[in-house]
């Protein structure tokens, strides 16, 4: 019989405190009235007001959102195609290379990915800016999407698709009418993962961006190098809250979907 001993409970309490205390302190200190970050000067939301007036951060946030949206969307299409190739296409010439290229970016150090893409863009004479960040983010995010989607495709019963074909669907119709709705949760999860990865990325964006396209992580990074600031705390809190709401909504949605489809 499984039971939690007091040692187990201690491990959980200490472990989760370690994971959550830093984030919690950051959130609390974003409401600190004092400019000195570690001295409590009373509750205040003034840093949030300051943040809304800071055009550099607002511009960067807008760039980041656009990059994340576009690259996540392209990455989802390409990643889903790549997953279909991995799971369904059978044998073809260069399959081993293809599999390698899908899995390698997952473990490739970001500094190497960033460096190699920058060298490509320069040698092709492509001016660096938002487009190049989008291309870079799409490339590494599509590999994550294809891993998520292919795990769903593997576990999925192919006979429903065959039934659709028997009933007169062509391959494209069968994909859009049968397969896609069934793998939709994985495709959505893949999009969310791609979106978050893009939103979060500092290293690859730093290599591939040019003047005029500064993403939020790049702004945060240059501000953080100068030390802790209450404005960054406020910005971090906003991002943390948004992500938390997103993750909880997504998990509730998938739970709801599971209960409605598994009847």
């Amino acid at each position: 019989m499984k039971r939690l001993s007091s040692i187990n409970i201690t491990a959980l309490v200490l472990g989760f405190s370690f994971l959550y205390l830093p984030i919690l302190l950051l959130v609390i200190y974003s409401f600190n009235a004092s400019k000195l970050v570690t001295v409590w000067g009373g509750f205040s939301t003034k840093w949030y007001g300051e943040l809304l007036k800071n055009e550099q951060f607002l511009d960067a946030a807008w760039v980041t959102l656009r990059v994340a949206f576009v690259s996540a969307s392209i990455a989802t299409v390409l990643g889903t195609l790549a997953a279909l190739v991995l799971v369904r296409a059978g044998r073809f010439r260069g399959r081993t290379l293809f599999t390698g290229m899908v899995y390698a970016p997952l473990v490739m150090p970001e500094v190497i990915t960033g460096l190699s893409l920058l060298l490509l863009f320069i040698s092709l004479g492509i001016g660096r800016g938002m487009t190049t960040i989008i291309l870079a983010h799409t490339t590494f995010a599509m590999c994550f999407v294809s891993v998520v989607v292919s795990s769903r495709l593997v576990s999925f019963d192919q006979s429903v698709e065959e039934a659709a074909r028997d009933l007169g669907c062509n391959a494209t119709q069968a994909f859009f009418l049968v397969t896609l709705p069934l793998i939709a949760p994985a495709v959505i999860a893949g999009w969310l993962l791609a979106f978050t990865l893009s939103l979060d990325d500092l290293v690859i964006a730093s290599f591939t961006s040019g003047p005029g396209a500064t993403t939020l992580p790049m702004r945060i990074y240059s501000a953080v190098r100068l030390g802790v600031s209450p404005e960054i705390n406020a910005l971090s809190t906003i991002l943390i809250v948004l992500v938390t709401i997103g993750v909880i909504t997504a998990s509730l949605a998938s739970k709801w979907q599971a209960t409605t489809t598994d009847r």
């Binding site: 984030i23 195609l81 150090p109 979060d200 992580p217 945060i220 190098r225 802790v228």
Partner: protein
């Protein structure tokens, strides 16, 4: 026809934006320093490849001859190994407790482990600056309860880097460990105890060997990214914290010596290729079971 197109589109994208750039890094790593022009320099026009002339191993011999690079590699290796072991030591008891928690609570606990992973990496690293700096929250707390009288200097040392890596990558360790521990059949432990094993002995002889795939997967998932880490040593480490990701960044952005940066990148990959391939093998074996 449709199948060809289906294969072609992602194939072409990955060739053009992953494999070819990667081969370019390799080629540039064999080229000369003339290439090292600032990216925005007005003199820099045309094709990078035109500047690539004599291909040789000069940059590699330079890297092996210069103690900075060798020390960066060794120091990265040491930091990555120690942080992986620390992450395992902290993650194992947590994963073990999660697997023993009541069934209904387990999804919530998994969710709590995953949630920080979705939160910006940069922000999570940044959060530690306010805690670890000399007038930071940890020192204030320790001084107020009277454990220390002088503030500890933790920020900008390797200790801060260990804390940062363990903190950032803990979820990667816990999740595969939990996945193997959760599947474990408890009747094996009962059988061992019935046959005279003490509880401790049963743990070492049954639980640990059975969770080995999780231990291996988790360790690789921490070790591989830790090895090439840039943000953590840069923000939490000090000027004497050497890590290869940081050295590469400095070589590229500050010294603008692209060929040397490219050679450092290739060597980093050469070090990582063994753990990466091993990791893939373990994953394939697990998936095949």
């Amino acid at each position: 026809m449709g199948r060809r197109l289906l294969i072609f589109v992602p194939y072409f994208w990955l060739l053009a934006l992953f494999l070819i750039p990667f081969l370019m890094v390799f080629r540039i790593s064999l080229s000369d320093y003339d290439l090292a022009q600032p990216p925005y320099s007005p003199h820099f026009t045309g094709n990078v490849m035109e500047v690539v002339r004599a291909l040789d191993w000069e940059n590699y011999t330079f890297i092996f001859g210069d103690s900075l690079y060798l020390n960066s590699f060794l120091s990265s290796l040491r930091i990555a190994i120690i942080s992986t072991l620390l992450t395992l030591a902290i993650g194992y008891p947590m994963a073990y407790a999660m697997a023993r928690a009541p069934r209904g609570v387990q999804p919530l606990l998994v969710m709590l482990v995953i949630l920080p992973f979705w939160t910006s990496f940069l922000i999570r690293v940044y959060a530690w600056i306010g805690i670890l700096k000399s007038e930071g929250l940890l020192n204030l707390f320790l001084m107020s309860i009277g454990v220390i009288s002088e503030p500890l200097s933790i920020l900008n040392t390797n200790t801060a880097v260990y804390i940062g890596i363990v903190y950032a990558y803990l979820p990667f360790m816990i999740l595969p460990l939990y996945a193997t521990l959760e599947k474990m059949d408890d009747s094996l432990l009962e059988a061992a105890e019935d046959l005279g094993c003490s509880r401790m002995e049963a743990f070492w002889r049954i639980t640990i060997p059975l969770s080995l795939p999780g231990i291996i997967a988790g360790s690789f998932l921490v070790f591989i990214p830790a090895m090439g880490e840039f943000v953590i040593p840069d923000l939490l480490g000090g000027s004497n914290t050497l890590m290869i990701g940081k050295t590469l960044w400095v070589e590229f952005f500050n010294n603008r010596d692209w060929p040397v940066a490219a050679s450092v990148a290739m060597l980093l990959l050469a070090i990582l290729i063994v753990p990466i391939v091993l990791f893939q093998k373990v994953q394939e074996k697990e998936a095949g079971l």
